[in-house]
């Protein structure tokens, strides 16, 4: 109600605010509409079409989705994506949590450790994957050479159907664990000291105060990070492209790799759009779940 009074009094200023406001956001809003919103609608439309790169495209309803549901390769790719995600997320989160606990204390050299663990995060994924492809190489790779020193003949990591995916998972965890670690450190440091003091007075030991104070207090952050890491894992692409190209015999072919192949190698644009939309739905569900839980858990947000 106050707003109305203000408006009447400061008419010209309010009009100026309308113009200036819209003028300032217009480049971004325009670019965003053309390069994000419009393509999004177009992707939905295309997922309902038979759309080769050249030649006629025509409406086929839900046929793409139906074909996907009966596509043997899709289910294999879907399974591989789940395998990657289930392999990566717990490994990543537990390691990040452990590192964050150790590195939220204060002792000499802490900055060095934090930096060492964080450096891979900002390194190019492509560079990181190339180096690890080399480390995993069967004859000249460092890993097998070190194993040989222990008299073990190392396997062909990236050329073995059973070992290729775990190798990619390890590479990916090491690349990104520093990111989650930083988020966890920030959360741990926001836990009020008074809670620990109270726990100590009640006679709680280190383990007890971790499970009864730290963990409950950082649960919202942990949950958000888990969801973000799941979403990231569902979109894995670069390391697969560099390290295995989806092989051997399709054992590391993941969803985004399949989308890329269908769209930009085979040019089945409609089918690929439908695949991409399935990815979108999964991400959407996860994001909504996250928002819902965030509302319940995060109380001290400065704005919404």
């Amino acid at each position: 109600m106050k707003e109305v009074g203000k408006k009447r009094r400061r008419g010209p200023l309010v009009r100026e605010a309308q113009i200036a406001g819209w003028l300032f956001v217009s480049p971004m809003v325009l670019g965003f509409t053309l390069l994000l919103l419009f393509p999004m609608a177009q992707a939905l439309y295309m997922s309902l079409m038979d759309w080769p790169l050249l030649g006629e495209h025509h409406f086929i309803g839900l046929n793409n989705y139906w074909n996907i549901a009966t596509d043997y390769l899709f289910w294999k790719v879907f399974g591989n994506t789940i395998y990657f995600t289930v392999g990566l997320v717990p490994f990543n989160i537990v390691l990040a949590l452990l590192l964050a606990l150790l590195l939220s204390k204060s002792f000499k050299g802490i900055g060095l450790f934090r930096t060492a663990i964080f450096v891979p995060v900002m390194t190019s994924l492509i560079v990181w994957s190339i180096v690890w492809k080399y480390m995993f190489a069967t004859d000249s790779g460092l890993i097998n050479q070190v194993l040989l020193l222990l008299d073990i003949k190392g396997p062909a990591w990236l050329y073995d159907e059973k070992l290729a995916m775990p190798s990619v998972i390890v590479t990916s965890v090491l690349k990104n664990v520093g990111l989650n670690m930083v988020l966890f450190i920030a959360a741990i440091q926001q836990v009020p000291r008074s809670l620990y003091e109270a726990a100590m007075l009640d006679g709680a030991g280190k383990a007890k105060s971790f499970f009864n104070v730290t963990l409950p207090m950082i649960t919202p952050t942990v949950f958000l990070t888990v969801v973000m890491t799941i979403i990231g894992s569902l979109k894995v692409f670069g390391q697969i492209y560099v390290m295995t190209q989806g092989g051997p015999s399709g054992s590391t072919k993941v969803l985004v790799y399949y989308i890329w192949e269908k769209a930009f190698k085979l040019f089945q644009m409609g089918y690929a759009s439908a695949l991409a939309f399935i990815l979108f739905f999964v991400v959407l569900v996860l994001t909504l779940l996250q928002w819902q839980l965030r509302k319940r858990w995060v109380f001290n947000e400065s704005d919404t």
């Binding site: 309010v14 300032f24 956001v25 992707a43 891979p120 900002m122 190019s124």
Partner: protein, 284 residues
């Protein structure tokens, strides 16, 4: 990132344990870099010698020279640098302009527009990439740098920038603006002469974060660029990997050269970058 001062570890044995765990994990993180550096100086025959040598017998700087004969490495480099430069400038300008408006100018529809922008950030890039490819094809922009420049500025990267800048401007007291308005400053002057200078820390965070993201971008170059001379570093390197096969010494000298500028930027601005990362955690 400051550690809580009174949370030190006092027992020497516990400290030893912590040091050993951390040293082990840090070593795993650093070995790839050391191995990359070491191999980049090796003679080809040294790569397959057993046992492995961390310090090469002969330092062969020639590898670094040869890479430029094998691939147009200087082109990749130039393309990466100039695209990153334009994208950073564009993002910082347009995102701070919009971020200021979303934080400080009460215009109609502000909250709805902001909400739409934020929710669109969850759209996976892989979904819009296919229509965008066709769109760029219509415009004859395939195999040009335009998609690589425009998509990060106005796509999810730009929206993230708006979010970062808005968070920053919200904390600036309104009195400052009101005083300037009374002095007859128009909005753009307030933005350019009062707000931007105050927002330097936020702008720095956004700059570093955008730079690293663009420098490492791989998916867009892969789908939009075909000509060798137009490739950026990550794409060029991935292509080179397929071509040279096991000539790891060449490959490693190329990756060293691609990584060093990033490491320099990182060590100069580590805190800003980590702030940016913490913000990505907030946005989702």
């Amino acid at each position: 990132m400051k550690a809580t001062p009174d949370a030190g570890i006092r027992k020497p044995l516990a400290l030893l344990g912590v040091y050993s765990i951390l040293s082990f994990i840090s070593l795993i993180m650093l070995v790839p870099f050391l191995w990359m550096l070491s191999t980049s100086f090796k003679e080809p025959q040294d790569i397959f010698t057993y046992p492995p040598k961390l310090i090469p017998t002969a330092f062969r700087l020639q590898n670094y020279v040869d890479v430029f004969q094998l691939i147009p490495f200087q082109r990749f480099y130039f393309n990466s640098v100039y695209i990153a430069f334009i994208v950073v400038l564009g993002t910082v300008f347009f995102a701070s302009l919009a971020g200021y408006a979303f934080a400080k100018i009460p215009f109609k529809g502000r909250n709805i527009v902001f909400l739409v922008l934020l929710s669109a950030m969850m759209i996976p890039h892989e979904v819009t990439a296919i229509p965008l490819f066709l769109f760029m094809r219509e415009l004859n922009w395939i195999d040009t740098h335009l998609p690589l420049i425009l998509l990060p500025i106005f796509g999810a990267g730009g929206v993230f920038g708006i979010f970062v800048m808005r968070q920053f401007f919200i904390t600036v007291p309104t009195e400052l603006e009101e005083a300037a308005m009374i002095d007859g400053c128009n909005r753009f002057r307030i933005y350019a002469q009062i707000m931007l200078p105050i927002a330097k820390p936020g702008l720095a965070t956004l700059t570093i974060f955008t730079f690293v993201t663009v420098w490492n971008e791989f998916f867009d170059p892969l789908i939009f660029i075909n000509s060798r001379d137009l490739m950026t570093l990550p794409l060029g390197l991935s292509l080179f990997t397929d071509e040279v096969g096991t000539s790891w010494h060449y490959l490693m000298s190329a990756t060293v050269m691609a990584t060093v500028p990033l490491l320099i930027v990182f060590f100069l601005a580590q805190r800003r970058f980590i702030e940016g990362v913490a913000m990505t955690g907030l946005k989702e």
